[in-house]
């Protein structure tokens, strides 16, 4: 299947759908074209290594994007082995399950990732790359994001405490998120169970932490507190969070910007 070659290269991003014609190029190609405005990185990809199998169906694929850092770059907080298994096995499993579901269900073609999540709601969830990519050595948020955090939580320390508390009081498997709430127009910390994504509540995720046991068990065994603390202090990529914040502000009006007076 061509998506697997797509998955190992960093050219194909998770949000792009590759259309693979099953007929040789000489025949008239039936392609399903879905303009997707919310996916600026959409790239049609012709894969001629695919020999005609006599099937005229067109598949939409999601590929597994590489994390933006080497797998051992997060040591000593998260071992290479953990990332190999978490990203390579769990995440890949979710993407494969997603592709399998897409194969079966025609009406899901052409949906953006966001729409898919809302429609399927916890069924074979693939949004996780969204979150894993957030992990990178970073210390503190800056500028706009920091200001908003201070406005909504009082101080960055307070936010950190609340986030850690949420992570430690989550029962079972789940995620902890920093989201921008659309209606309340402020940042908030939410907990979701299993693989639910706050997008289903129409909130925009800024940053997240996986507290399923598989994400820390190999390195920390049952010491969830240490994992959560290390994550908050050393692993969060505030740069990525800032990027998401900026994008989120395109959808949520947080008020007039403070323009400095000359």
């Amino acid at each position: 299947m061509s998506w697997s070659s797509c998955g190992s290269s960093s050219i194909c991003s998770w949000s792009s759908i590759s259309y693979v014609p099953h007929d040789p190029p000489s025949k008239l190609l039936k392609r399903r074209f879905t303009p997707s405005i919310a996916q600026p990185r959409w790239k049609p990809r012709r894969d001629y290594s695919h020999i005609n199998r006599g099937v005229s169906k067109v598949f939409g694929y999601y590929g597994l994007k590489n994390p933006p850092y080497k797998l051992d770059a997060l040591e000593p907080y998260l071992s290479r082995r953990t990332l190999e298994v978490h990203w390579g096995v769990h995440h890949r499993g979710y993407v494969e399950a997603l592709n399998k579901q897409l194969e079966k269900n025609d009406t899901l073609y052409g949906c953006t990732m966001d729409e898919l999540i809302k429609v399927s709601y916890n069924n074979g969830n693939p949004f996780i790359e969204f979150n894993n990519a957030a992990q990178e050595a970073g210390d503190m948020p800056t500028l706009g994001l920091l200001q908003q955090i201070e406005k909504d939580f009082g101080s960055f320390t307070n936010f950190k405490e609340k986030f850690i508390e949420a992570a430690l009081t989550l029962f079972g498997s789940g995620w902890v998120w920093l989201v921008l709430k659309r209606d309340a127009k402020c940042l908030a910390i939410v907990k979701t169970s299993n693989a639910i994504n706050p997008l289903v509540w129409n909130d925009i995720p800024i940053m997240s932490l996986d507290v399923w046991e598989h994400s820390y068990y190999l390195d920390y065994r049952n010491d969830k507190a240490k994992y959560v603390n290390n994550f908050m202090n050393h692993l969060v990529s505030w740069n990525a969070a800032a990027v998401r914040m900026v994008r989120a502000q395109a959808f949520v009006n947080l008020g007039e910007p403070k323009i400095p007076v000359a």
Partner: protein, 228 residues
């Protein structure tokens, strides 16, 4: 008064009595395993058994005791909202303690009868209801593997209708949350901590192998008590 509480208070079958608080509040302590950690290999590694028992189960007990104390306080003070707020912690940690206590009794080393298929009334009931033991095992494995997130898969008996059931529960919910007349015979922990170090994410392999150390004798005893 304390002595009477000692004698009459019904407590969990295998939770040794902890210290009695001033008001007779019973706390719980970690039950000992009737076998060594390493004796369930290669189905479940000794590492996992030790962590599971000494760390996870102990944490549930500690937090359960804490929640019970807080609940006791709230009830004594008549603080209804605090009492209700504690319910989820009690369900989670108390359920964790109950479930794991049953789990340890559900397992036995192979040389002590682990894996030996059930005989007499339970064996007959399984054949009657499911067709054969293999079918039951397939069913439980399928449900266990399909469970999303954390939870348990159970073989239980409905003591009202005298019927065997296969159920799953989420997180640490005990089997009774699926039906008040359900009594657990066998429970398999499918939280990731129960298998991750050994099987990584391949939960089906864990489920396939755990049957080699399942203690059917205990399940038969419980069944015979409920359905004589």
């Amino acid at each position: 008064m304390a002595l009477r509480t000692l004698l009459t208070r019904k407590n969990l079958a295998n939770s040794p009595m902890g210290m009695l608080g001033l008001r007779g509040l019973q706390t719980f302590s970690l039950p000992d395993l009737p076998y060594d950690y390493g004796t369930l290999e290669p189905a479940i590694s000794g590492d996992i058994m030790q962590l599971h028992h000494q760390k996870h189960h102990q944490t549930y007990i500690t937090n359960y005791n804490k929640a019970l104390e807080q609940l006791d306080d709230a009830v004594a003070k008549g603080d209804a909202s605090a009492a209700v707020k504690l319910q989820s912690a009690i369900k989670f940690n108390g359920g964790g303690h109950v479930n794991h206590s049953i789990f340890w009794k559900n397992l036995a080393p192979i040389r002590e009868g682990g894996g030996e298929p059930p005989k007499s009334s339970l064996g007959w009931a399984i054949d009657n209801h499911f067709g054969s033991l293999e079918v039951l095992i397939q069913k439980m494995n399928a449900e266990g593997a399909a469970l999303q997130g954390s939870g348990w898969v159970w073989l239980g008996v409905d003591k009202e209708f005298k019927r065997l059931v296969v159920e799953t529960t989420a997180n640490q919910d005990p089997l009774v949350t699926k039906g008040p007349s359900l009594v657990p015979l066998l429970g398999i922990d499918v939280w990731e901590h129960a298998y991750y170090l050994q099987y990584k994410n391949v939960r089906p392999d864990y489920l396939k192998n755990i049957w080699k150390v399942i203690n059917w004798k205990y399940a038969s005893e419980v069944y015979e008590k409920e359905c004589p």
